[in-house]
Each structure stands twice: as C-alpha cells, then as structure tokens.
C-alpha cells in the first residue's frame, strides 16, 4: 500500500527523455558503484550496475531476481530496493548514510521504463563530429561555437545578451588573455579603429604578446605544481625556474600542444644521446709507496637492473689487475696501454664489487678508471677505498693529473656527444615531472618517499592530460572508473624508470637527476645580474639582523648563518654561470604493485603501460614515457583533446564546459555542451593542436562578446550561467589582482622570465615555521623590504610551499603541493585587508596618485583619469560626484591633521596629494577594478 502511494508521488516529476550519461550514470555512480561497480574487492552480490550485460551486469537474474529489467521498473529489483520502506531492504543501505532524492529515484524509474539503455561513459567514447545545429536566430552566430550555444539557449526559451561595447571588450580581452588591463593608448587606438577587422586585429595583437604567453604559463604552473622550495618538512630552496622559462617560451612560440606535452613527459627520450655528463674523475691514491709494495683498491656500487651495455676503461702507472664480481678482467703493465673491455656480462643486479691489485708501482702511484654503464658512470674518485700492504682500508685521495698527462688522454675515451641547445631544452622540459615535492627531512626512508614522488607524477599526468583521478587506484581498484590498481602501478612504472631516488638534497636543494643549463629566455649575464641583486638584498637583510641580539625570537647569528647558506647557493650558480634544473632520465628498474598502497608491501611485477581499459596500451607504443606520450596523443584516445580544450574554455569563461575539469570520470560533471566540446576538441587536434588558434576561435565568438550584466529572469532558468545566456563576470585570480594593480599604477616591470623574485611580505613569516639552518637556503628569510624592487608579475614571486605569500593565499592561490587545474573563488574580509593595507597595494595607490597628478593639475580630471585607468571607462556623473566628495573629505582631513599627513609616504606635506593617494587606493579597491566583466 505504501509503495503505491509513493509511486503516485513520483509520477509528478517525470520529465523529457532521460539520457543515460547525463541523467542516470551520475546517480548510479553516486549511490551504487561503490559496491556494485568496477572494484572487484568491494563488490557485493556479484552485481555490477556500471555495465548492462554479462554474468555480473545489471540485466542479470540471480536467484530469480532480475536487477534491472528493461521496460519494467516493478520487475527491476534495483528499483524496488530503492523505493523499499524496509530498513533492511532499502538501497543504498542506511549505514552508508547517503539517501537518494525522490527526483533521482524517479529518473531511474523513467529510465528503466524507457528501456534501461546503457551507454558507455561519454568521456571514454571518441569525440564525434557534429554539424552546427539549426537555430532560429540565425543572425547571431559568428562562428560554430555560437550555433551550439544558441541552440541550447533556444531550447530553454532564452536568448543571448547584447553585444558588449568596445571599452568592455578590450578590457575583457586584456584581462582574460594577459591578466592585466589595457593601456589607455591601446584603448584609444581600438576605439578609433572603425574598420570591421578592428576586433580581430586586436585579438591577434594580444595573442602575439609575451604577456599572453605569461598568462597561459601561469595556469600551467598550477597544473605542474611549480614552486621554488622542496615542500616536505625542511622545505628548502630548489631551482626550477629554467623550466618555467621553457614554458613561457613554449607559449611565446605557440608550440603545438602535442609537442608541448610530449617534451614535458618524455623530452629526455627524444634526445638520443646521454643527457648526463661524465662525473669528475681523478687519478687516485697518491701516496709515497715503497718499492714492491702491494696496493689494493676497491669500489662497491649498486645497479637497480642489468644494463644494456657497459664498458670499462682503466689504467695504472704500473702493473695492475682488475677483478669484477670475482671475475678477472685482465690488466696491463704500462700506463700508456690502458685496459679497455666490455663488462656487460659481468655485472649483476644489486651490489657489484670491483677490486684492483697493483704492484711494483713507482714511488708516486696512480690509478684511473671509468665504467660507463648505459647512461651512468662509476669513476675513480675519493669514494674508492685503498689498502697499502694489506693494512687497513682507507679512503682514496684524488689528484688531477699523472705527471703532465690528463687521464682522459691516457684512456683515449671518445669525446661525449654534446647536446645541442635545442636538445638541452627538451630535457629541461621534463622538469614538469620533477616539480613535485621532495623531502630533505632527516631519517626518512628513501623507499617510502620515492613512492610519494611517483604517485604524485601519476596524479599530475593523469589530471593534467587525461582528466582522470587515477590516484584513487593507488590502494585498490577505482570505485567508479575503469582503472585497476594494476593500471595505477603500470603507469607508475613509466616514472620509476629513472635514476631518481627517495633520498634528500643534492646541489642547492635539487636532487638527482638534474642538469646545469642556461635558459633560452634569460641570457646568462641577466641571470647573473639577478643573482647578484638578490645577494645584495640578502646582505642588507643580514646587516639588519646583525643590529639586533635577538631576531624574531632566535639568536641573530642563526638567522645570519642561514642567510649565508642562501647566498652560498646563489654564489655557486654565479661561479658556474649556469642554473640547475631537475629533469628525468632513463634507468631500467623493476616496478611492483604496492599492496594496499603500502610502499613496502610488494605485489605482482608490472611493466609500464597506460590506462588500458580506456585505450589499450599495445605493442605499437614503446614501453617508456615516449610510448605514454604517443598513447596520450593517439587519435583513439577519447580524453586528451577534450581535456585540453576544456581547460582553455575554463580559463576564458571561468567555468569549463565540463565543470569538473580535474575529473572526466563517471563522478565528474556531465558537459554542459558535449557536442560543442567534441567539435572544438576535434578541430583543435586536427589543426596541429594549435593553442592560439583555439583561443582565437573562442574569443571571436558572439558568445564571448556578450555583455555580462546579470539577468534575473534568465538566472531563474540558468542560475549558474552554464548555458552562457550572458558573459560571465568574476574576480581576477590572486596573481592578476596584484598584476593589474601594478599595471594601472604604471609600476609593472614587464620583463619576461628569469629567476624568481621576492616582493615585500611581513617579516618573519618564514622563520616562524622553518627548520632553518638545515638543508641550506630558503629556511629563514627573506623577502626584500624595499619598495621599487620586485615589481615583476606575480607569477615570478618565489613560492615557498609551506608558507605561501599571504597576499596570494588570501586570494585562493594554491600552495602548489599537488596538481591543481581548478581554483576556488572566494570573497573574504582578509582580501579586503590585503587590498587596503598591504604595502604592495598601498604602493600602487601612491604611484597611481602620482600618475594622476602628472597627467593634469585639475582635480576633477585627475580623478576621472585614475578611475578610467582602474575600470577601463570614464566615471558617470554620479560617480564623479562621489569621487570628488571623497577627495574633499580626505583633503579636509589632511589639512586639519598635518601629523597624519606627515606619516603618509610621498606627499611632501601636500594635503592635496594625500587626498589623491587615498582616492587612488579607493579606485584600486573598487569591485569593478578587480572584476573581469
């Protein structure tokens, strides 16, 4: 009886045709897949509701009960269990604490009655071609995008908003595509250009500007979790800015997305030469020895796997014999006749031992060896042990040359092939994979941390290029998407095949493998100049600290010493003339499944492979990261182009066509315009993955050029504007709020690329959380205290992961610990405090005031000028009145309170100037100034 009543209730909410992927799958995924989905481990009652057919599929009958009977809801036990009033029968079970809404149950019923048709998850089906849909208002569309947008609007009886005026459009274009307001000259030029191509010309000009490349790079830095410190615990300094320069350069050159991706995932494998230089090698032992004294040398080294080829070159100043893993390799009795032999078959996995016996040596002994094992070297250096006359083993000492002959000449080693500038940059690109966090905490276990590092790489690559939450399969099969735990570790294996270890710091906080490079974007002397400036900045800070006995609760000397370490890191780079960047290399290693994700619980061994249930990773792809890149780019891969296109759509409109840009799986949101997404994805892919062309297409659309004014009537039907019934308006992101203020005030330093900079922040923020004095650099200080410095774009601000710049954190900038493709958008009082009181923003107000004053002596005009710079339009009459009223109030105040005026910087005792500064501050704080509309 109860049941019948309930059914009556549901009939009310039946709507138009039900679409499985859009309407049904999200419901099943939310409530059912956890126990009746892809994960075998947690599956209940041998039932899967993510597939229709087969023994486990939804249509199956078990013990006389059919889970879903197409066309007959009342014979479908899935439905009956959903509407059961029995606590023991109802699904989902009460203890999972998710109760279905009645609309959701009604959709399931309708779907079953309409035939319970299953479709594969939309994102795993290849994008389809679609022609432009018919629309009623056929005058409106400017390009294909508009037809798709308008068609959906018309279905809901909505019409697009009016076209925005030229002032709005130019400001919108500049903010969206460069992150900063246009100059007034640019505005005037555009306003005066009455040609029909004026808008397109403007778009082309902006797209070709370096500022646009920087804007694109900024989003990519979030995705790539770029930062200037190592992140875990000690959180010390690292150098990755050469990789950031690579990204900016890639966007300046409009590098096609396929190359952009491939180089970052596998650039080192594109370069078919060893990427590591031979390490420093020396003659070793050097000690006066007696005639006929016996000398032994030994070295133990570890191989994770057997090499493809390995070669030994060695010589000694007298008779010697070399034994490798117990096997005599031979020797020589003349130093000019070195031993040169293939050792591939004598090496073994794990520890290897090399032993050298020398005798009858001259008074000053010397030995030199180079073992080249694939792309890896073991060379004679002070890490070897030496033994004289069977006494105890001691560490060997090094000396440069034997007599006047350098060892390399004696060994007749072939000169290593040099990497070209282009090849070096391809290796630099792989810094993308190394941007993740590192630990330099004492006492950590390398085996544990290396799993953290590679897990993060799997997550980053999956999220960035595939929109997949692969990381959910780290401990068990994915609960919602076809990704097994084995898939996870197969992907992990791509990244495990490198010489990276879970151990701590190498040089300057960078850990192996890393290379020394110069940036393409930042000439060497400019880099050196930057470093020298930074050193003088740090020295000034040291001097400041030295004046006090205690600094921020610590003995001053500790702070001074810590800063010495930071200076040392910079000095090293100045000496070498190069910066360092962490990259990927190739070293075959075994990979095992980690049972329940535990680093030390090894399961089955796996080989590198991508997500095979989405697209088979077969033999046509090489079994390395190059193969992964090819698989990502395969025309059969349903995700890659959609994910990329969606993210650019998100950058421009604030929300993607798929809102959950990080998750295209079954828990993600169904696209607002699937056909449009597909059309754009195919167009992008088939036109050489041309990013600039894609962006141009979007901003040339009528959809983009609408006004943003809120429309209460349309909002009732389309509350989140997902149908694009108007242009969106949203607050600028953290970096752009500041960049825009710098731009408006005329302070912005337009320099592109280079080492990170340190704008003003409240003192002591780093010292308060850091374990300084450990791991070198980045612990204690240190931000420049001096205005006028570091007026660079915020994307260059040094990011310390454990203590982000507070003005950025307040505006939702992520801390770059993990890959982020979608930021939060909040509106908080702390933001207001930053905008009003942060010396950086107050500085922009002072400079804006100065700019206003230089422009004209007439107050009304000064105010109008500042307002126009800030909002992109002249003030209306009412606004002018308010601006003037505020100015007069402030003028009166400063005239009456000279003591306050004296405290306000840069006024030279002029109350009018004081009033202008406060006016300027107000303009920078206008909601309109920080909003893209």
């Amino acid at each position: 009886m109860k049941r019948i009543l309930l059914l009556l209730l549901f009939t009310n909410s039946i709507s138009a045709e039900v679409n499985f992927n859009r309407d049904v799958r999200p419901i099943l995924s939310k409530y059912c897949f956890h126990c009746h989905g892809p994960d075998e481990e947690s599956r209940e009652k041998k039932l899967r509701l993510d597939i229709a057919d087969g023994e486990l599929g939804a249509y199956r009958t078990r013990r006389g009960k059919t889970a879903i009977k197409p066309g007959d809801a009342m014979a479908s036990h899935v439905y009956l269990r959903m509407i059961s009033d029995d606590e023991d029968d109802i699904m989902p079970p009460p203890d999972i604490k998710k109760e279905m809404k009645k609309e959701e149950i009604a959709i399931i019923k309708q779907w079953i009655e309409e035939g319970a048709e299953y479709q594969g998850h939309w994102a795993f089906q290849k994008p389809q071609k679609h022609s432009a849909p018919q629309v009623k208002n056929d005058k409106w569309p400017k390009n294909l995008i508009d037809s798709f947008i308008l068609s959906e609007l018309e279905k809901k009886d909505l019409s697009p908003a009016d076209k925005a005026d030229k002032r709005t459009l130019i400001r919108r274009l500049y903010l969206d595509l460069t992150g900063m307001s246009p100059s007034l000259e640019a505005v005037n030029e555009f306003l005066n250009d009455n040609s029909s191509q004026a808008y397109e010309k403007l778009v082309d000009k902006i797209l070709a500007s370096p500022a646009h490349a920087e804007r694109l790079a900024l989003d990519w830095l979030d995705t790539a979790r770029y930062a200037d410190t190592n992140g875990y615990s000690i959180d010390d300094h690292r150098d990755m800015w050469a990789w950031r320069d690579w990204v900016i350069k890639a966007f300046i050159d409009n590098k096609p997305y396929d190359e952009f991706m491939t180089e970052q995932v596998a650039g080192d494998l594109l370069v078919k030469k060893p990427i590591h230089e031979m390490p420093k090698t020396s003659w070793i032992w050097k000690k006066e020895v007696k005639q006929n004294e016996k000398i032994n040398l030994r070295k133990r080294f570890h191989l994770d796997s057997l090499p493809k080829e390995a070669h030994l070159d060695a010589t000694c100043d007298d008779k010697f014999t070399i034994i490798l893993n117990g096997k005599k390799l031979g020797g020589s009795d003349l130093w000019s006749k070195p031993l040169s032999t293939d050792i591939t078959k004598h090496l073994k996995e794990g520890w290897n031992d090399i032993l050298v016996h020398a005798e009858n040596v001259a008074s000053l002994g010397g030995f030199v060896a180079v073992l080249k094992i694939d792309d890896y070297y073991v060379v004679s250096d002070k890490s070897w042990d030496v033994q004289f006359d069977n006494k105890s083993w001691v560490k060997a000492t090094e000396h440069k040359a034997y007599g006047s002959t350098p060892w390399a000449t004696v060994l007749k080693l072939e000169k290593q092939a040099q990497l070209s500038e282009e090849e070096i940059q391809r290796v630099v690109a792989t810094g993308f994979l190394r941007n993740g966090m590192n630990t330099h905490e004492g006492g950590t276990l390398p085996e544990e941390y290396i799993t953290f590092y590679h897990n993060d790489k799997v997550d980053t690559v999956s999220t960035a290029f595939l929109g997949m939450t692969t990381k959910c399969a780290q401990c068990h099969d994915h609960k919602f998407d076809p990704i097994s735990q084995k898939d996870f570790y197969s992907m992990y294996a791509f990244f495990n095949n490198s010489s990276e270890s879970g151990m701590g710091a190498g040089r300057g906080g960078n850990s192996k493998p890393f290379i020394r490079v110069n940036s393409l974007l930042t000439p060497k002397d400019e880099m050196l100049k930057n470093y020298k400036e930074r050193i003088s900045e740090l020295k000034e800070l040291q001097a400041e600290i030295k004046k006090q006995e205690n600094y921020l609760g610590f003995k001053s000397i500790k702070g001074v010493k810590n800063i010495d370490k930071e200076i040392h890191v910079l000095d090293e780079q100045i000496k070498s003339g190069k910066t360092s960047v962490m990259v990927m290399d190739w070293r075959a290693k075994k990979t095992h499944i980690r049972i329940r994700g535990q680093y030390d619980q090894l399961g089955e061994e796996v080989s590198p492979a991508a997500l095979g249930q989405i697209l088979a990773f077969d033999d046509k792809y090489p079994s390395n990261r190059l193969g992964l890149a090819q698989w990502i780019l395969d025309k059969e891969n349903p995700l890659t182009a959609r994910v990329a296109v969606n993210r650019y759509w998100q950058m421009i409109f604030g929300t993607g066509l798929v809102k959950t840009s990080e998750d295209f799986g079954s828990q993600g949101e169904y696209p607002s315009h699937l056909e449009l997404l597909d059309v754009l994805a195919l167009d992008f892919r088939d036109n050489n993955w041309d990013i600039r062309r894609l962006i141009k297409k979007i901003v040339m659309s009528a959809t983009y050029q609408q006004i943003s004014k809120y429309n209460a009537k349309a909002a009732k039907i389309d509350p989140y504007n997902r149908l694009h019934h108007r242009a969106p308006s949203f607050r600028l992101s953290a970096e752009l709020v500041r960049d825009n203020a710098l731009q408006i005030s005329g302070l912005m330093n337009q320099k592109v690329g280079g080492p990170s900079v340190h704008p003003v922040q409240p003192s002591g923020l780093w010292a308060q959380v850091s374990h300084f004095g450990h791991g070198g650099g980045g612990g204690f200080s240190s931000q420049a205290y001096y205005e006028g410095k570091s007026l660079r774009r915020s994307m260059y601000t040094a990011i310390k992961r454990t203590a982000g710049h507070p003005a950025m954190a307040a505006f939702d900038a992520p801390n770059r610990e993990v890959c982020t493709v979608r930021r939060q958008q909040t509106n908080t009082p702390l933001q207001s405090l930053v905008m009003l009181n942060d010396p950086q923003f107050m500085g922009t107000a002072r400079y804006l005031a100065k700019r206003m004053k230089l422009k004209t002596p007439v107050v009304d005009e000064q105010l109008a000028y500042g307002f126009t710079l800030s909002t992109g339009r002249p003030p209306r009459a009412q606004e002018t009145a308010l601006l003037l009223q505020n100015y007069k109030q402030q003028l009166k105040f400063y005239t009456e309170h000279k003591e306050e005026l004296a405290k306000l910087k840069s006024t030279q005792g002029d109350p009018e100037h004081g009033a202008l500064i406060i006016s300027a501050s107000m303009m920078i704080n206008l909601s309109e100034t920080m909003t893209r509309n």
Binding site: G443, C472, V769, H771, Q824, N827, L904, I918, S927
Partner: protein, 465 residues
C-alpha cells in the same frame, strides 16, 4: 551496533526475520544540515605539540620499566617494526626507562611525570589517552596526518572542516585561528606548514588565520601609516557607494558580498586588537598562566589568547608549539619544553572551568607521535620517533574527566587495549560538536571526502561524558 537483518546476514548468523522500522521513506530530511545532533561542545582549543612529545617520560607510566632500563628491547616487542633512517643503522636498541619520577595524582590517581607539576593538578579535569597510534614515523607525514586525517598533502585541516561545517559564531572574526610558538627545547624545532591549517580542497575562506605576536595581530590588519580610522571610514563609505552603483549596473551578487566583506574587515580591525590587548587582564591571570603570558609569542601568551578568543565565541583556536623532537639532549630539552607549556596548558583548563566555559569547549593536547623506548645514541641521550603508541590528553566539551584510557605493554611500545587512531579521535571530536563524521562529507575529485578518511574510524564512546 544496532541490530538489523543486513548486519545479521553479514555476520552469517541465522535469519531472525525482518525487523521493520517505522522510518518513513524519503522524508526529505536534509542529511547535511549541521549539526547532525545536539552538540556537547561549541568550540575547541587544540594545543598541538609539534615534534613528538615523549609519552614515556610524560604520561605512559609502567613501574616495571625501571628494571628493564639498559636491557635490549626484545625483537618480540619490536616485531620487525620499521624505524626511521636515524636509528635504522643502530646495532643495539637499549631500553631507556623514564628519566624522571612519576606519581599518582588527584582522585583519579592518574600517573603523571614530575616534568609536569601543573598538569598533575588538573588530572581530574582531563582524560589521558595512552593508546593513540599513527601510521607515520616522520614529522611531515605525521603532523599532516594528525591535522588533516591524511599523510598526503592536499586535504583540509580539522579547523577548516569545522569552519566549513559550523561557521563562525563571532561575526567579526574568522572561525579558525592559529597561534605559533617556538619551544626552548630544540631550537628551532621541526618545521610546521601552512598546510596544517590549510583548507585543502575546501574554499580557502576556511583556512586557519594566523594570528601574529609581533606587528599586526592579523596580517595587514593595521591601516597604513597616515591613514586614520575616521578617514578610512570616510573612504569606505565612498567605496561602498561606488560599489553599490556598480551593483546597480551589473546586478552582480558578488559585489554585494564584497561590500559586506569590506565592512567585516573594518570591524576586524577593531575586534582583533581588542583580543590581543591584555592590559585589562588582572594580576591573577598572570599568576595562573605564568609570567610568560605577558610576552607575546610565547606558548603561555598564546594560551591566554586562546581563552580570550573562546570567550568571544570563536569556533576553533589552534596552537602549534615547536621543539618536541628529542633525538638527543633528552633531559635538558624536555625540561625546557615542559617549562614552556606545563603551567599554561593547565592554567587554560582551570581558567575555562572557572569561567564556566569548559563544558562547551574541548581542549586537546598532543603531537604527531610519541618517542621510542629505546635510546637513540647512548643510553639516555635521546629517543627516536614512535608511532605505534603515544599519549594525548583531552578535556571539557563532552569528554569524560579524570580518566586514563588505553593500555600499552610494559615497554610502552605496543598497544594492549583500547587503541585510538588519529581518525578515531577526530571522529570523537566531531561527535562532541554534534557532527556525524561519516555524513560530514565534501565532494572532490569524484569522492565524498571526509576528515576521517577512507579507512574505518569510530567515535570512542568510552571517552564521552
């Protein structure tokens, strides 16, 4: 566990027949409206002791351990347990008994070390949990786990969850506030990170706001030099009018919100310094908390701040005190850490009780793990990290008082009974605030995420008053 057929079938027992309930289907109840049930506590003060305080030397007393002093820790106790890289190479693992005497205190007879004379006096108001355990053995994952329920970065902290779920009860201050101090033991102590009070995937408005001891109590709180409060007010009034005009043009609701946020910022400029202004505190306050409480930046001062904030209806205050990482210099450094914290921690509980605030305020004391019974280096020199058991204490707001909970073996190495995981404790804390931790979820990357993670966590009923 409530008995029903579903559970019954799972446990494999005989069918008992349907136990129908009167629950009406789809009553339209909103499962996410908070609190889920009547809360015991309104707010929480979390005294986070960063570095890993030694449970062996402070709370987890085993009289028989004295006899074991200097003997080798048996393999049967260690059970092949992994140790950190710092002692992994050690040949011997000599047991080091507590380096100070213990006594029983209060009516409850709780054992407390002589390191903590003040805490000894409040034992009847607190519950010592001796059976805490964690998965982590290094600081970064350990303290991240304690504060966010996961070792992996990227998840919201307890305070961010509370700000998201319950909001602030003080309209002039953020819901979640952070105070940092550096201990005199190990200096500087292990690093801490903004992620420990971060908002993870929750909106960033919920991140903890760091209150500072020097300069502005909140970053950027103070007007720039030369901008006075009345002239700021004038400017804000004009700004408000201009923003309102923009609102009329754009009809953008965000503008309205922004106008309100500027007003709240203005109010914060008054309320935050008022909290930090201790000039009105009577002498008795400093007698209770100790003279350190006069010095901004000390742990004692931060305890006093915490009480002042709780009085003003703030949801959560969290202190981080660094320096509890005694790998070496065990005696002098532990002495210094206890001197920093003992009196003020106890004073805070006493003070809240006197003011009638303890009933609705939870106080939680503890760090990311405990320390090893075996010596690091030579006997008595120091102790390595230990996650298999450690001690914390809780008080007020729904917790039992005067209890010692949980039992470890005579080496204070393994838990013998009543294990409490970090997420069990978090589930219990949420329970006291009227929140069912399993229903308190936030969707992100395809999952309904919980503070208490994916592994099973339970409210520890024995800890509830």
């Amino acid at each position: 566990m409530k008995f029903n057929r579903r559970n019954f079938v799972k446990t494999g027992a005989l069918a008992l027949g349907a136990l129908g309930s009167e629950k009406t289907l789809l009553a339209g109840s909103n499962k996410n409206s908070l609190p889920h049930f009547a809360p015991k506590a309104k707010s929480i003060i979390y005294l986070c002791q960063s570095g890993g305080p030694s449970h062996i030397d402070l709370f987890d007393y085993h009289p028989e351990m004295k006899k074991l002093h200097g003997t080798e820790l048996p393999d049967s106790v260690r059970g092949g347990q992994r140790v950190t890289g710092m002692t992994a190479g050690q040949k011997n693992f000599p047991v080091c008994a507590p380096i100070k005497e213990f006594k029983q205190h209060g009516q409850s007879g709780t054992w407390v070390s002589e390191f903590l004379p003040y805490t000894s006096k409040i034992v009847d108001d607190i519950t010592v949990i001796k059976s805490m355990h964690t998965e982590a053995i290094n600081h970064d994952p350990g303290i991240t786990f304690l504060n966010t329920g996961s070792q992996i970065p990227g998840r919201p902290s307890l305070g961010a969850w509370l700000s998201h779920g319950l909001g602030s009860t003080n309209k002039n201050m953020p819901a979640y506030n952070i105070l940092l101090s550096q201990g005199n033991g190990k200096k500087p102590g292990q690093p801490i990170f903004s992620r420990l009070w971060g908002s993870g995937f929750l909106p960033s408005v919920h991140q903890g706001v760091q209150l500072r001891s020097a300069g502005d109590p909140i970053l950027y709180l103070k007007n720039p030099a030369g901008v006075s409060r009345p002239s700021r007010r004038n400017m804000l009034d004009s700004l408000k009018s201009l923003n309102h005009m923009y609102y009329q043009q754009s009809q953008d609701p965000e503008v309205q919100t922004r106008i309100e946020q500027y007003e709240m910022a203005y109010r914060m400029q008054e309320s935050a310094p008022e909290i930090a202004d201790i000039s009105s505190e009577p002498e008795s306050t400093f007698k209770l908390y100790g003279e350190d409480a006069r010095k901004p930046g000390t742990y004692a001062y931060n305890c006093l701040m915490a009480r002042r904030m709780i009085e003003r209806g703030i949801r959560m205050v969290q202190l981080f005190h660094r320096g509890w990482d005694q790998h070496g210099s065990l005696m002098p450094h532990l002495t210094a850490q206890c001197k920093d914290t003992d009196q003020a921690s106890a004073a805070l509980v006493t003070d809240l009780k006197q003011r009638g605030l303890l009933d609705e305020t939870m106080v939680v004391w503890g760090g990311e793990f405990g320390r090893s019974v075996y010596s690091q280096g030579k006997l008595g020199n120091g102790r390595d990290h230990h996650g298999k058991c450690f001690s914390m204490w809780v008080a007020g707001g729904g917790f039992k008082a005067g209890l010692s909970y949980g039992q470890t073996d005579e080496y204070a190495y393994n838990i013998v009974e009543d294990a409490v995981s970090v997420n069990d404790l978090n589930a219990t804390i949420l329970h006291n605030l009227g929140i069912d931790h399993e229903r308190f979820t936030y969707p992100f990357q395809g999952l309904d995420n919980k503070l208490t993670g994916v592994d099973h966590a339970s409210v520890i009923a024995d800890l509830l008053s």
